[in-house]
Symmetry: C2
Subunit: 264 residues, 2 copies
Amino acid sequence: MPYELYYWPSIQGRGEFIRLALEEAGADYLDVARLPEEDGMGLPALLRHLDGADGRPPFAPPFLKTGDLLIGQSANILLFLGARLGLAPRAEAGRLWVHQLQLTLADWLGEVHDTHHPVSSDLYYEDQRLEATRRAQDFTGRRLAQFLVYCERVLSANPRGWLAGSRPTYADLSLFQMIEGLRYAFPLAMTRLERGCPRLIELRDKVARRPNIARYLASKRRLPFSEEDIFRRYPELDLGVKPRTGRFPAPLSRPSSARSIRAA
Amino acid sequence: MPYELYYWPSIQGRGEFIRLALEEAGADYLDVARLPEEDGMGLPALLRHLDGADGRPPFAPPFLKTGDLLIGQSANILLFLGARLGLAPRAEAGRLWVHQLQLTLADWLGEVHDTHHPVSSDLYYEDQRLEATRRAQDFTGRRLAQFLVYCERVLSANPRGWLAGSRPTYADLSLFQMIEGLRYAFPLAMTRLERGCPRLIELRDKVARRPNIARYLASKRRLPFSEEDIFRRYPELDLGVKPRTGRFPAPLSRPSSARSIRAA
């Protein structure tokens, strides 16, 4: 029985993190919403699960069906698949560590999304462009570097060049996707910042060279990046240099406790 | 050996979701950053782990230390504790379902945070008030109801009145905290919306009556809500009625595919 992946059919989005894991493992899977409606697949099949009478509905795609299990939330799906596909350490400590990293990548991805949708996911980018400019300024000028440096630091602690142990995990594949997406959306900022993250770029290259991943990336199954996706290239949001005004960050003389407690 | 919880000492924040699980289970734990520096505890102990040479540092608090394990990311900590403290189903399907719900609550919490910090977690609320007003209008007028209705729907599928099975899980405790925080931050919006969610309110009341939770809430260990926390009461962000302008949501005549793909 193949795994059934349910995700919006025309974008990489959050579904891509699941696709990369399935592809790396050579797993048998159906990308249900991209298959013909005549065969009971397509978008209607996805919507049936979202709107259906199932007592355990997912809040949003992606979700994965296998046997009687319907699993939602990207990181949760990867937690499940990681153990089955050999993409996670077997010992509890390693499993928790990889999942922790995946959740941090999920936070990072959410912040990428909000650079172009800081006001509402139900409004068009053009209707929140002013707010997006400010948010993206903070992202490219501060937050992006924090995440990159964190990942570089984690990688520097493991001489094997992976996030955990001596083999790639689902979190390594997801980190590859983050770099690809960030390069697409913020080419100027990434050019500036990648210089400080050699291990991260090496990991990205190693993932791209994995035979199954290379085959997938060259196939039609890999959808292109676009401006309807999470990673979007809007040149006005890509600041290659740090902002020079005094507004970012807030003056340090004010107590840091009044600021916001973000993440994790 | 008591569990060591590390979180900012002066707010509930994301640490509260861990505290509620430890308290419900009557677990032996130290809230390290709230203990005296003279004893090697306090904020310096927290910062040592964040800045330390440990090869597996957390990106941000909260994190939990037990034996050799240092576990970061709230939902990951609860995944670990749930199994040990009897706050999660034993079977895999139930464990994944509860974790999926917890991750959805985490997404919801992130959106609450961004109502007052839509531009940058490094700027004060006062420096992003205009953007916050717009974001909060979308949250109270649309997004909040989506999450509440989803939870009510999940609860309606289980006659036992819990999110999964016949006993409270860590996700039930977290849902209690969400309701408490939302009532604090958005009293007008919640008054309007709670009418449609009787099962959710019943769950909130049942959790509040659990002996260990009731004792905890009445103790000094329970910190008060405040405007330095995730849930903040800014009356200008609490819209008790749906916005009447034509700007929210975007006109339906435009293709939905151009909108943002949000969450999960």
